[in-house]
Each structure stands twice: as structure tokens, then as C-alpha cells.
Amino acid sequence: MSGDGAVQNPHGEEVVPAGAQPLDVIAVRQGAFGVSGSGDTSGFGGLVSTITMPAAATRPYGSWFDAAADELDLALSERGIPMSSAVEKVVVHRGELTFHVRREHLVPFVTTLRDEPALRFEFCSSVSGVHYPVDTDRELHSVYHFLSITHRRRVRVEVSAPDADPHIPSIVAVYPTANWHERETWDFFGIVFDGHPSLTRIQMPDDWPGHPQRKDYPLGGIPVEYKGATIPPPDERRSYR
């Protein structure tokens, strides 16, 4: 179903050639029907499929993406940061451009996005966290969406941090609007935004333990008993995935 020319196997998953860049593995599934937690009588239980996010794009990216990437390359070099060290990979998927940026270069990177006249992403739309427990050492992602009203463009910047060291620099100094967004991402995912003026919980109560939108956050659930059986919480129920 992908329109990006990636090779797919009959299950719709993308097949990656050997030697390609490492991908964000986000799930490993068994069987053919997506059912887990029940006896498999179909014989398809041995099938293992690895779900990955869209692969890194190669030039040309298409649309305005190439010109913008060139400008970015130039502007970053002027600031003494080679593009190759700041950007892990560039993904073009569904007509959207994503820069995966190494966290130590995030602040100069977004400053360049904002200030460079040819880029001029003057508006930070959104910051949201995503938790990929299977993506080892890159479990926590912080995803930024920028809008250039000048050039009518959007770009996504994705930064990852390992669970063991959940620190990402704050961009509040560059985009003050990120203040509440980063507080929310801290609240729900436990990503610590270094340099944030007051990184406190925003949605959950101040004394709440844990970060509820992480995938490993226990859901709890009310044990409804009927003739000795109980209903487990939604994440432990048998379900199609």
C-alpha cells in the first residue's frame, strides 16, 4: 500500500535490502492473524514479522525537499555543524519530510530552521512524544512539527533518547510555544527536557507516579468476576494487533 516505491512482502511489510541503514523496529509480531495470547491452531504461529517505520530516503527526495535539505546543509555548515553529524537520517513518507536529528544538535538545528531565510520555519506547531519500547536505545522519541507560513511548508523533526537516559534539550528558548508541549511530553512520557524553565506536570496531578502514555505503563482495570473468571486490563486482553 506504500506509495514510496519500497519493496513489500505479501503481508504489506517493507522488505529492506541487506546493508541498509538500521530501521526503527517498532514491533515484532507472530502468526498471521494478529491474535495473541491464545492457542494457535492455524499453523501460522511460526511466522514472525518485524514491523519497521518507513526507511530512510535517498536523493532525490522530490518536491521542495531537496532544495530545503541543501539550504539546511549549507546553513548548518556555516554554524560549524556538518549535516551528517546532526542528522541521523531523512525520511520522506506520505509526502512529509522528516529529519531525524541527534539530540545534542537539536537546538542549533531548530534555530537554523527558524532563522535561515530560505527555510524560515517560524512556527512550532506541536511537540509530541512517542514510546517505542522495541527500538532499543532509542525508545523515547520527541516529534516536532514546524510550519513555515512564509514558504507554506511543513517539516517534522524527530529526536530520540534511550530509556536509560531520557534527556533531550529543550527548545523553549527558540520556540516559546514549546513550553506547554514539552511539559505535556514530560508528563506523559518522562522525557526530561534539559533547559526547560519549569518542567512540571501539566495534565496529571503533581504527585502522580509514572508517565501514563508510555507503552509499559500498567493500565490496571477493574477485576469483574463472573463465575470465577475475571476481565484483565485492555493491554492484557486477547486482541487483534
Binding site: 507560513i149 485492555p234 487483534y240
Partner: protein
Amino acid sequence: MADNVTYEDDSAAAENVDYEDDVAFESAEDVGPDPYADSYDTQGGRVFTVSGQDWDTIQAPPEGTNENIVVNMGPQHPSAHGVLRLILELDGETVRQCRPAIGYLHTGIEKNLEFRSWVQGTTFVTRMDYVAPLFNEAAYCLAVEKLLGITDDIPERATIIRVILMEFNRISSHLVALATGGLELGALTAMIFGFREREAVLDIFEMITGLRMNHAYIRPGGVAQDLPDGAEQKILETVALLRKRFPDTTNMLVDNVIWMGRTVGVGYLDLAGCMALGTTGPTLRATGLPHDLRRLEPYCGYETYDFDIPTRDTCDAYGRFLIRLDEMQESLRIVEQAVSRLRPGPVMVADKKIAWPAQLALGGDGLGNSLDHIRHIMGESMEALIHHFKLVTEGFRVPAGQAYVAIESPKGELGCHAVSDGGTRPYRVHFRDPSFVNLQAVPAMAEGGMLSDLIASLASIDPVMGGVDR
């Protein structure tokens, strides 16, 4: 002795007093019989608690004392526009500091989405910004459709119905903004008029979607149900009715001296402030920038409609009010154009692996399952039954990836960031709700102004707490 004596409380309606001077106060033991009103020492000084009706027990500070009062406004307050808590430091009636505290309506919608199928997601997202539910549904569905790669396959008729509903919803949301904003500023007739007009719009929603709010009508792939018979006629009648009634509000408020006194020059936020704080919607357009996502990056065919983007350059609450009035007129224009384009056709994508298998049908006992469809799956085709069962219980799979779709909701940029892991459920859905972001601008608008102007500023950005807290 330089004790800062703070009177603190934990009930919503009472106030904290912070006297920064050498003052000897009555001891807390005299405060009264209230078991919750005791005192304790903190690093900042001795804290006394008052819980109402016991202010007389506190001795007035001497002349010349800095007498800042910390007021805890909300989370239950009639003019706080919802369950919003504002922590205000007041010097007389001047707001020195303002800190909005949110989260009182947090219901974990984004987390809930991860345990339901993609189609069921609309039922959740419609409850976020409950004053503009159809925009939530549209943003979510456009994001899911982008991930599925079926954006261009959505039937024309479904897109037009979406546009009609969204524009009507823009009107009803702006009417609520005017009505509750008027209520908060004491213009009760504006409230009566606003809700009266909104009722006409909600009747349209009820006729088309079956519900006045929480519709779950826009679905991935199209809409849940075709327009009922006579809908076009009713829509045009309502457009005419609203055209006739809008001048009531306009005539009453636009040149009204009291209304202008409360809103002109109040809640100032210029373009630089809006850009830095991420503020969008009428607040941004009141700075003179014609920024509207329907024009900037059109979706749902908005590039083919003829409409204007009202702007003002006053940067104040009055400008935002005028923009809302103008936008309602523009929405009526769009609705008329959309209705004239309606042609018979499907309202759900043709791909049977995504489209909901059946529409509801009107039977003798009301709207319910389509008897033809039931006959088909129960009596004629085993395969159709299997297909129905799989699609309804398991749902469709969405290819792995992520998409961000932003649409122009009545409050500003409503963004939906949807992430799929290739499964039958969303892996993560995040809503960039405009109210959430715009609320950050309240301190910038209110600090240094009067307390009564804070209310006008807050009303002028029209936050809906269901969207802020999600």
C-alpha cells in the same frame, strides 16, 4: 523580624494574602474553630489559612505595606470558561502575575485511542473539543486517510458533506464563543441570542448525524451516513435564518459603548507574540495576518471555494470578536456553495477492505441496521458475513508510518499526529489542540492589566477545556 506572612488555603474560592513587611499579626490560634484553618511555618514565613467567613480574624496590615493577594481563580469559576484554574497575584485589581493551571478535564483520550480500532477512534476524538467536535473527527480522519494513502479516493460527496458540517460547526463554535464571552462580560442578551442561533445549527447536526454533539459522523474513508431526505432544503433554510438573525447580535454589540469599553485595547497580543507563543485562529488574524490553513494548505477541496479571510489589525479582544462575526458570514457562503455542488454518489471510499460494510437504514421503528445488509450477510453470503465480522471486530490495518494533518478549527490550527505500527489500532495519536496552545498566551495578555480585563482576554481566545486537557 521580617516574616512574610502568607495566608493560604486549599479551597477554590478563598484567597491568599502576602504581606511583605514587618508586621505582627494575631496568632493563628485565634483564627477560629475551623479545623482546616490552622497555621504553620514555611521557609517563606508563617502561613495562615483562611477558608471563608473568617477574614475578620485577620488583622489588617499597616499603611504602606505591599499587599499582594494571591487568588486561586477556579477550577470552578463561572467566568473561567470551563474547569480552568488561574493562579493570580493581584495588586489591588491589577494582575501582577498569572499562571494558568490545566488538567482538570484530562480524560486520557489519546491513551484510550491506542486500545480501540482506527474507526472507533472517531468516537473518542469527537469528545476532545466538544464545542467543535466535527473538526476533531475531520483532522483525525484526514490523518488516518493520509496514512492509508487514500486521500484522493474519498468520494466527492463525502468531502462536500464534511465541508458543510465543518462550516456549520465553525458557526456554532463561534456562537458559543460570543455567547459565553458575552455572559462573562455581563452581556446576557448576547448569550441568549448566541445559544438561540446555535440551536438552529445543532438541529442541522441532529438531522444529519443523529446527535447534537459527539457525532462520530466523519469516519476514515468518508462519512457514516448519507444526508437524509430534504437535508439540502433544510440547510438552505437554516442559512437564510442565520443570515436574518446574525444582525441581532451585530447590531447589539458592534457599536455598543459598554462592549467596546470592555474589549477595545484589551488582551493585546501582536504578531511577534502570536508567532512566539504559537497562537493561531482569530487571535492571530486580529494582528492583521490572513493566516488560515484553508487557504495556506487547503484540504477537503477548500481551494475551490470562494471565501474571504477576515482580518483586523487591532490585536485586541474587540478585533477577535469582529473576526468571529465576519467568519460566520463567510462560513454561510461556503455552505451555500457546497450545497450547490452536492451530486448523488457514494459517501464512503470504494475499497471494501476499509469502508464500513453497511449504512444504517430507516425502518418502521426508527434508524437501525440496514435490513438488506442483514439479509445479505445472514441469508445469502457466508463470505460477506466473514468480511463484515472481520472489519467490525478486527478493523483494517494501517501501514506503518506517521502523518501530521492540520486543519483550521474555529480556534486555530488543529493538528493530528497519528502514528501507526501497521496494526489495527493507532500506535499513538496526538492532538495539537489550538485551545491548549492559545491558553499559554493568557499571561502575556493579562499581566499588568485589570482583573476584569483578564476575563475579557480569556473569553476572546475562547479555550475549550475538553480540547485543552483531552
